[in-house]
């Protein structure tokens, strides 16, 4: 028998064409399956499963919101409110439309705080997530470092806030002592005390994880070979980052920004503990009104805050739709 015997199957073009057609129709099927999955049709079981959640949401979220909206349109009295419809609560808040009005002043300060917090969390959080997801090679190390990074979640909020307010940041705090020892400053920096700066620094530290977490998970899903491919196709580090990494992490940036914006804009705990009465925000303003039994005004302030938050979230989500331009 000669060595030229056919050891290889003959390549039959018709069979191959058919194979390709089958492959293509598989892809089409997959696409169709996704469409059907999106249409849902989960039916009664899903509904039954979801019911406790709906009830819970209705009772604890929707009902209070409805009450707040109602109260904000009722007339205030010295002991609470009468069920007499009025716009005056909103009128009082909105009418003297100047920055002297403490509500608007607080609103602006809180907004500024939120914008700073979102921006700082993004700028400082991205490298952390990037390092964890793309530079740490071993999965175990990744998880270990991530849990360490999650420390703010599993240490008590109050413990950290108290530590911030007195021993670390205060006028006699460690930071000031340190700067004095090094002769960087000659007298304690009062801005590290009960100040807006302190509050903002604390918030960045408290909320940065809301940015790191979604970014870490999205960056972890970026195909490393695709990054190599981008480099291979002529992209330098910055181009690869802008064209390949950033678009794929945009949903994480948006989610993180929404979390941080909403949480810091309405913040009241951190402001109270770290600011020690020297700093105010929309949150502390509303709390003061509630303490002063000014329920209708407090309610109106809260409703305006919710509207401001919704507007902010709406603006942030616009970024997710940024189309990749060729």
């Amino acid at each position: 028998m000669s060595s030229s015997s056919p050891t290889e199957p003959q390549i039959d073009v018709a069979v191959l064409e058919e194979a390709a057609t089958i492959e293509d129709s598989k892809a089409a099927e997959r696409a169709l399956g996704e469409v059907q999955a999106r249409r849902g049709g989960g039916g009664w079981v899903t509904l039954a499963w979801g019911l406790p959640g709906f009830v819970w949401l209705a009772f604890y979220l929707v009902a209070p919101l409805v009450f707040i909206i109602l109260v904000s349109f009722w007339t205030r009295t010295d002991t609470g409110f009468d069920r007499v419809w009025t716009f005056s609560n909103y009128g009082d808040l909105l009418h003297p439309f100047s920055l002297d009005n403490s509500y608007w002043k607080n609103m602006l300060t809180s907004f500024e705080t939120s914008v700073i917090a979102v921006a700082a969390c993004l700028v400082f959080g991205f490298p952390v997530a990037y390092f964890l997801a793309l530079k740490v090679q071993k999965l175990q190390n990744q998880i270990a470092l991530f849990i360490i990074a999650l420390a703010p979640f599993w240490t008590s909020f109050l413990t950290r806030s108290v530590a911030w307010a007195y021993p670390l940041m205060g006028r006699e705090g460690a930071l000031n002592q340190f700067l004095l020892k090094l002769h960087i400053v000659n007298e304690p920096v009062s801005a590290f005390g009960f100040s807006t700066l302190s509050v903002r620094l604390a918030m960045i530290q408290l909320y940065i994880l809301f940015m790191v977490t979604p970014l870490f998970f999205l960056l972890g899903q970026v195909d490393r070979y695709a990054l190599e491919a981008a480099r291979d196709l002529g992209g330098n580090w910055f181009q690869t980052f802008r064209e390949v990494i950033l678009p794929q992490t945009m949903p994480g940036i948006v989610i993180g920004s929404i979390f941080i914006f909403v949480l810091t804009m309405g913040e009241y705990g951190t402001v109270t503990v770290i600011g020690q009465g020297a700093v105010s925000s929309v949150g502390t303003y509303i709390q003061q009104q509630v303490l002063g039994i000014q329920y209708p005004q407090g309610a109106a302030s809260a409703v305006l805050l919710v509207i401001a938050l919704l507007l902010g979230v709406f603006v942030i989500t616009r970024f997710a739709n940024l189309r990749e331009e060729l």
Binding site: V15, L16, D223, N236
Partner: protein, 382 residues
């Protein structure tokens, strides 16, 4: 045997001398890569590849073929040696400065970009104006027959289509050398066969240097101008597919290519270039070995292809290039029959035409005489 065998003659690892870089083509010179921890992935590899040549790096996993390819592309930094393309060293250039592009395993498409945007990526990096890069990307898509799908996302494509997008994406940047890392590994078998033909046709059309890494012997044989067989970080043999298939240079190549009968024996006779080897079961094989320096009494290995072995019922016993065996198993594969045989305790293999199956069926346990021709015997170097 074709004439071009002379040019790409068999080169054992021991004989590979350091090359002087040429003005044209790619040269790997004493290329070495060791990883921290003492693993040597690539050990002193020397190779020249011409423009327009289709070279396949073939070997088992972990043999260093992928690391070699990644060093050429700039994705691994060599520990020693040089990579020279058209007289210019590439070693100090990052991947994006090299005139090479890689088709990565699993395609590595950008999931958030449309097919067209994926293909146009390299041009965007070169800051080619928008209109021109769209036009050139469409041309590249036309080349792989995917113009209608240009607006789809990679997720909505089949494996074969994704593979073609990956090809179009690298071709659009007009590289001097295309590096392919297991390019057909993710496709199912029928599609693999089809893409082999497509890839090879595309390479011929473009006249580009393709360096293709695979562990699939059949793929290498069917596609390559030249095959570089690697094992344990070293080149075992560099030759055209026919030579690799019929004249393996080393035991490793003979075993890796599969279906070779390897006989270990002593040289008992040497007349001119003709050497006779006999194994411990008395099987004699003769081979022409011009230039070989081994003497009578030396132990050596010879290899005989399974397809070169025939059934020779009427042959003379105890002759040269013949043996009596027991049939262990008759395996029918349609086009051919694989006869699993045993001589003494050693396994032997014969592949005969499928139409002989009726006369072989059910003969397990019987004895049969096999024979082969002297020119089908290959003396292996150590």
């Amino acid at each position: 045997m074709p004439e071009d065998v002379a040019r790409s003659s068999t080169v054992g690892a021991a004989e590979a001398a350091p090359t002087v870089p040429s003005e044209s083509g790619l040269d790997l010179i004493n290329l070495t890569k060791d990883f921290p921890g003492g693993t040597i992935a690539v050990d002193d590899v020397n190779l020249h590849v011409d423009h327009g040549e289709y070279v396949v790096l073939l070997g088992p996993s972990g043999c260093g073929k992928t690391t070699t390819l990644r060093m050429i592309g700039g994705h691994e930094i060599p520990s020693g040696g040089d990579i020279v393309l058209d007289g210019q060293s590439l070693v100090d250039l990052p991947p994006h400065r090299r005139p090479t592009t890689t088709v990565f395993q699993h395609f590595a498409l950008f999931p958030h970009r449309s097919v067209l945007d994926n293909v146009a990526f390299g041009l965007k990096m070169e800051r080619v104006p928008r209109e021109e890069r769209r036009r050139r990307a469409m041309e590249a898509l036309e080349m792989v027959g995917l113009t209608e799908l240009s607006q789809r996302k990679p997720r909505a494509l089949s494996g074969g289509q994704q593979q073609r997008v990956a090809l179009a994406r690298v071709l659009v940047t007009k590289p001097k050398a295309l590096l392919l890392d297991e390019p057909l590994g993710d496709l199912d078998r029928l599609l693999q066969l089809r893409m082999r033909v497509e890839l090879r046709n595309l390479q011929r059309q473009l006249g580009l240097m393709f360096i293709h890494v695979t562990h699939n012997q059949e793929e290498a044989l069917s596609m390559a101008d030249r095959i570089v067989v690697m094992n344990e970080a070293r080149i075992q043999q560099v030759a055209d597919p026919l030579t690799i298939a019929t004249k393996p240079a080393t035991e490793l190549v003979a075993r890796f290519m599969g279906d070779n009968n390897i006989i270990r024996g002593k040289i008992v006779e040497r007349v001119g270039d003709r050497v006779v080897v006999v194994d411990e079961h008395g099987v004699k094989a003769s081979v022409m070995a011009p230039g070989d320096t081994r003497k009578v009494g030396d132990t050596t290995l010879v290899s005989i292809r399974a397809v070169a072995v025939r059934i020779d019922e009427g042959g003379t016993p105890n002759g040269v290039n013949t043996a009596e065996c027991e049939i262990v198993f008759v395996e029918f594969l349609g086009d051919l029959v694989k006869l699993h045989l045993a001589v003494g305790g050693e396994r032997r293999l014969a592949k005969v035409a499928g139409d002989q199956y009726p006369t072989l069926r059910g003969r397990e346990g019987e004895r049969v005489r096999i024979a082969w021709e002297e020119e089908d015997v290959q003396l292996l170097s150590d």
